[in-house]
């Protein structure tokens, strides 16, 4: 389930995304109102204004006292009042904060925020509750499985402090409704997320809105908290993050040498070819294809042949057909390529019939084999699981086909680490293939971790990290950024346990925060691109003497040679509320940093200017640092979300450090990436170790 969290909508194929419940109507409406009321406010209000603007107690408060008006201290608030002090305590009571993610860190954080008395807390989470969350996400119980994390967390936490207003949004933080102006309405934003992409998105939104962000993550016993404030401290993307791992096609399809290669083969190739749409491309590194052109061609033919077998899904012959195709015929074909096995052990094909004969005992013990999670299955036991999981999956696929509406797309089954059927199929196929190639087999428990990119997660680490988040938020509320710390949990440095460090300074060359952010309010059906290029950029922002390029997420809108778009209305160019535009200064000398403009919608009178800038006239735009990155090609993408993962992180083609696969090494302990928290999740189709934790 976690896999779908903030990725749904972009990464996950349609059927999986469709499974996530739609946001509740109530919440949607509320957000809508919120979004609508924003443009009427003066652009770029200061934070103080924006907090005061929000009536913190919209609902009928069950108690008589409104904390910010009455200095009297309720018994409930006595300790906070005494220890935080009057000024910080009243700051806290008035603060309107956003918490993105209601998983491992989120549950702890919400409890702390509620008991510290933060005035209004918005919670956004797309995810639903899974059994494997319950060892730490204490706001959830068994009865809540498959329900919305955001909504259940709100209900559970609300009763512990009726003076706090909690608003839950069961939605993707990347939805357009959560615009820059919506972010601007918060005093502090807390990231309690489990994936890189959503973290990056919130980072960008907070920078654009100039709202301080408290970023956190945990992995097992490790954890980290940092404060991100535009221009003051480093942002999430100031240091490059580890990219998802990918493997050369030939390593996966022809010359596996480690268990992970066979697991990726089973998960991203075999399962997808039989039950999914097609092979899962993200995990394959095609950079070496040219060197192996003839083998690649063979592999393409093999996939075609496999697709034909797919027709037989559900028939009694199917398991044998599939087995003899991928574990016999394809292996025989590989063996015949003698060059390949000069320095490698050649694979040994298996025969279904023969193996079935050997597997009589294992077949008889099927239920105990299936229940065996921790021990490594023998080859025969793997066959038993292979057959059984194939039967379960085939049955499911046929049922889905029968149930589908005429016009609906063909049903598919995709890998989900908590879906036992797909896990069994992947584990058993991977183990059979490992045996063929003389690679160690693995237990289903271990395969689940590798295939699902599971990062260990426990209550204690989340409790520590969430508490530290609130301590950093106190510094933010007091405006003491110089006191804000980047804190690391150092569980294996027994003399410290915590290692607080001064916040890092922003990286001047950072493509995400090393830009000048501004906002513009437009009427897309009236405002033209010319209005922006001439009125906003040249006259208002001071680009008149400069050569520059204007991009949006799709590509170039304007440059000195590309003027066709100028007369067009913004609506024709697909620019509206929530759009980002990037201006790149082309001057060779003293060039300005990129200017990122967030677009908001409004309406203007006939005789008014067709746009309104949030910046003063001719603002001071910083110069690019001397060694500026060549930002022209992807400048737009830097700020415009969806493809930023590819753009900012290392590209897919990044080679492994050890491109030669000859070493038959034992799999290293999966060192999952950077921060995590809870469930880890990975960007589902990146078979390798992208990271990520906490949901």
């Amino acid at each position: 389930m976690e896999d779908k969290s903030a990725n749904a909508g972009t990464e996950v194929p349609a059927p999986a995304a469709a499974e996530a419940p739609a946001p509740s109507h109530l919440e949607k409406q509320e957000q809508h109102q919120n979004a609508q009321e924003q443009p009427q406010q003066p652009p770029q209000p200061t934070q103080q204004q924006s907090t005061q603007r929000q009536p913190p107690q919209e609902q009928v408060a069950p108690t008589k006292s409104t904390p910010q008006r009455r200095p009297q201290v309720t018994p409930r608030d006595r300790f906070n009042h005494q220890s935080l002090g009057v000024s910080l305590n009243s700051n806290v009571k008035q603060a309107r904060v956003l918490m993105v993610g209601a998983g491992g860190i989120g549950c702890e954080l919400l409890k702390n925020l509620v008991l510290t008395g933060f005035g209004e807390i918005h919670v956004v989470d797309l995810d639903t509750i899974d059994l494997s969350n319950l060892n730490r996400q204490f706001l959830f119980g068994h009865e809540h499985i498959k329900k919305s994390k955001a909504l259940v967390a709100k209900d559970a936490a609300q009763k512990f402090n009726p003076n706090v207003r909690i608003v839950a949004h069961h939605a993707n933080i990347k939805d357009a409704q959560f615009s820059v102006s919506w972010f601007r309405g918060f005093r502090v934003v807390f990231n309690a997320l489990d994936n890189l992409e959503a973290r990056r998105h919130v980072n960008r939104m907070c920078l654009a809105a100039d709202v301080p962000l408290v970023e956190s993550g945990t992995t097992g016993f490790n954890g980290q908290v940092q404060v991100i404030k535009k221009g003051v401290t480093a942002c999430y993307d100031c240091t490059p993050k580890e990219a998802p791992k990918s493997f050369p096609v030939c390593t996966i399809r022809s010359t596996p040498s480690q268990p992970i290669h066979c697991i990726v083969w089973a998960k991203s190739y075999l399962l997808n070819e039989i039950f999914g749409t097609s092979e899962d491309q993200a995990v394959f590194d095609h950079s070496e294809d040219a060197e192996n052109a003839s083998e690649i061609e063979e592999l393409r033919r093999e996939s075609q042949a496999l697709k034909k077998i797919r027709e037989a899904v559900g028939t009694p012959e199917f398991p044998r057909m599939l087995f003899d195709k991928v574990f016999n015929a394809d292996i025989e074909r590989l063996r015949s390529v003698e060059d390949m096995w000069k320095s490698r052990r050649a694979p040994e094909p298996l025969k279904y019939e023969t193996l079935m004969d050997q597997a009589k005992d294992a077949t008889a013990a099927k239920s105990s084999v299936l229940a065996n999670d921790q021990n490594v299955w023998s080859l025969e036991e793997s066959l038993v699981v292979f057959n059984d999981s194939l039967e379960r999956l085939s049955k499911r696929l046929l049922e889905l086909k029968n149930a589908k509406e005429e016009s609906a797309p063909e049903p598919v089954i995709t890998f989900d680490k908590d879906d036992q059927d797909t896990l069994d199929f992947v584990a058993s196929s991977a183990n059979i293939r490992s045996t063929i190639f003389g690679i160690d087999r693995k237990s289903r428990f271990d395969i689940k971790q590798m295939a699902g990119n599971i990062i260990p997660a426990i209550a204690t680490t989340n409790a520590i990290v969430a508490g530290l988040c609130v301590l950093q938020a106190f510094k933010v509320l007091k405006g003491e950024y110089s006191e804000a710390k980047e804190v690391f949990l150092t569980p294996f440095a027994p003399a410290r346990l915590l290692a607080p460090d001064r916040s890092r300074e922003p990286n001047a060359a950072c493509p995400v925060c090393g830009v000048f952010n501004t906002a513009v309010t437009v009427d897309p059906s009236r405002t033209t691109l010319h209005d922006l290029v001439d009125g906003l950029l040249r006259k208002h922002l001071g680009f008149s003497e400069k050569d520059f390029v204007l991009n949006n997420e799709v590509g170039i809108l304007y440059d000195p040679d590309e003027t066709d778009n100028l007369p067009k209305k913004l609506v024709e160019l697909g620019i509206g509320d929530g759009s980002f535009l990037t201006v790149i200064d082309e001057d060779d000398e003293d060039a300005w940093v990129n200017v990122v403009i967030s677009v908001e919608e409004g309406s203007f009178g006939e005789d008014e200017s067709p746009f309104q800038s949030s910046s003063a006239e001719h603002p001071e735009i910083p110069r690019k640092p001397k060694k500026a990155a060549p930002a022209e090609t992807n400048g737009a993408a830097d700020q415009n979300g969806d493809d930023a993962v590819e753009e900012v992180g290392a590209p897919k083609g990044v080679k492994r450090t050890r491109p030669d696969d000859d070493g038959g090494q034992p799999l290293k302990k999966a060192r999952m990436a950077e921060s995590a928290g809870d469930d880890i999740v990975v960007i589902e189709d990146a078979g390798g170790a992208i990271v990520i934790g906490d949901d």
């Binding site: 204490f138 908290v225 209550a459």
Partner: protein, 532 residues
């Protein structure tokens, strides 16, 4: 897909529901750790604001501690509701122990919870301790009466029960772990790269033979073969050569190692299309780390030398195995081989052979230790798996000595820390100030909820005369006095997370628990661990 899944009875396939619920933590402490947690019984003796202990319990109930008991005579008041998450409106006026037990139990149906004093129970605290089933660990939050503290300490001594004291006030807190006697940990989870022990300077015959066989034509073999010699084989070959030209001596001194490293580097073929060889580069990189004499790490030496006067403890499997490993070491002048081989450039087939040579040696060494164990009194029933684990982790075994042997007094530690602070004052932010003042101020209120800064200073200087007039100690005293003994929920949540983490280490006997006091400063988000 979910619908179909629900139709299939879960019992038919897959791990149990419990395994699935605990999946993310089983990956840290495995089934053995989980079963230790599930058979543990924790006592919380609660007092004061009572939040930090409950937050700790929450973090133990979630991962599935077997049983807990809360001893707390307090009645829930309004201010409790503002600081304790496990109390709600309906709790007001009721027993705090009972209400917290009820709400904590909602977190995990697998856990059993009890509370004391139950209504109409006439039993005293002493009576309650004596009549309860034995506790695995006891934690108590401050302030606590001297009488009750004495009872707990006596109980801990009598039953060999670890005690954990917790104090959280305002932005400050500390916790203190008292382990009974010696506390050995075998499963310390060392970093995997640290566990490699290649025995390059004391190879056994099979390993030497293998290397010799592979390198007999080293100068004439083709580039492919040469470029795939595993680093172990390369190093063994050149160590042999080195010995021949150095009167049979190995390169031990730093200068010799440098010279040896150059020798290996010079042997790399550079006339190939790549202009170098990855395997030789790996070998060169491994010289400093792996060309080392087998040594006896200090931690294990401590285990070998530890006298365990308690006869019952001496017959525990840990000490029987430790004694057998000591005999093994004395006889062979080396520890058992761990059997792990790191990733290295090699042909698959060669790598697997090499791996088997190490594994086989580890197996034989462990078998030898097992024989020694079997011949010892009480060694008949020791689990061979435990012997294997001991052998493969031997270099990382950690012994925490709970007994107060050779420990400095509080006054001595404080004087030392104050001395460091004088340096820190000059050194600037890179060297943080000691957190001892916080500990001194908090321990001055161990038995009383509130105190003035003056009272606190008086108590501190009585124990540590050198503290008199020290500005930072006075500040800590004032901060503690200002908080009036009250807890901040958020601070208690952080400390509750840290205490639970240490409790899990102690209960599972995995990872290394802190030794023994951790002081937390919530203003700076900082910790200091000290032996006090």
């Amino acid at each position: 897909m979910t619908e179909v899944m629900e139709q299939t009875p879960p019992a038919l396939h897959g791990p149990s529901e419990k395994e699935r619920k605990y999946d993310r933590q089983l990956r840290l402490w495995a089934a053995s750790g989980q079963s230790a947690l599930e058979s543990a019984h924790i006592l919380l003796v609660n007092s004061g604001c009572g939040t930090v202990g409950i937050e700790t319990l929450k973090n133990l109930v979630l991962p599935g501690i077997g049983k807990f008991t809360i001893a707390d005579e307090a009645i829930v008041s309004d201010s409790d509701l503002g600081v304790n998450f496990f109390l709600d409106e309906s709790s007001r006026g009721r027993s705090r122990a009972e209400c917290c037990t009820e709400l904590l139990l909602e977190l995990n149906p697998e856990v059993e919870g009890h509370w004391w004093p139950e209504p109409n129970a006439s039993s005293t605290f002493d009576g309650f301790l004596q009549t309860s089933e034995p506790f695995t660990t006891i934690m108590y939050s401050m302030p606590i009466s001297p009488e009750r503290l004495r009872l707990l300490q006596e109980y801990g001594k009598e039953h060999q029960t670890p005690l954990v004291a917790i104090h959280s006030v305002g932005f400050y807190g500390y916790f203190s772990v008292s382990l009974p006697g010696t506390f050995p940990i075998v499963d310390t989870h060392p970093d995997e790269t640290a566990t490699t022990d290649l025995r390059l300077l004391s190879p056994w015959p099979e390993l030497s033979e293998f290397a010799k066989e592979m390198t007999k034509n080293i100068d004439t073999m083709d580039n492919h073969e040469h470029g795939h010699l595993p680093l172990v084989v390369i190093l063994l070959h050149y160590l042999d050569k080195w010995k021949q030209s150095h009167d049979g001596a190995y390169p031990i001194a730093y200068q010799d190692k440098i010279a040896f490293r150059n020798m290996v580097s010079d042997a790399m073929r550079r006339d190939n299309p790549e202009g170098g060889e990855e395997n030789f580069e790996e070998a060169v990189g491994a010289v400093m780390k792996h060309v080392v004499k087998p040594d006896l790490p200090g931690t294990l030496k401590q285990v070998f030398e530890c006298s365990h006067p308690d006869s019952q403890e001496a017959r525990s499997s840990f000490w029987i195995i430790a004694d057998a490993v000591r005999q093994f070491y004395e006889k062979n002048d080396r520890l058992p081989v761990t059997g792990s081989l790191p990733d290295m450039k090699a042909l698959s087939t060669v790598y697997i052979k090499l791996q088997n040579i190490y594994k086989e040696k580890a197996r034989r060494d462990a078998a030898e230790v097992l024989d020694l164990v079997r011949s010892a009194q009480g060694g008949e029933d020791v689990d061979p798996a435990e012997v294997e684990q001991f052998c493969s982790n031997a270099r990382f075994i950690k012994l925490i000595n709970g007994a107060d042997v050779g420990v400095k007094s509080l006054a001595q530690v404080t004087e030392q820390e104050l001395g460091n602070d004088e340096v820190a004052a000059i050194a600037g932010p890179e060297m943080p100030f000691s957190l001892i003042p916080i500990y001194l101020a908090l321990t001055s209120t161990s038995h009383t909820g509130t105190a003035t800064a003056k009272d606190i200073m008086a108590s501190i200087t009585e124990r540590v005369p050198a503290a008199a007039g020290k500005e930072r100690i006075l500040q800590a005293a004032e901060e503690v006095a200002r908080s009036g003994g009250n807890e901040l929920h958020n601070i208690s949540a952080v400390i509750g997370g840290m205490v639970a983490q240490e409790m899990i280490k102690i209960i599972t006997k995995q990872y290394i628990p802190i030794d023994n006091v951790c002081i937390f400063d919530g203003i700076d988000s900082r910790c200091q661990v000290a032996r006090l």
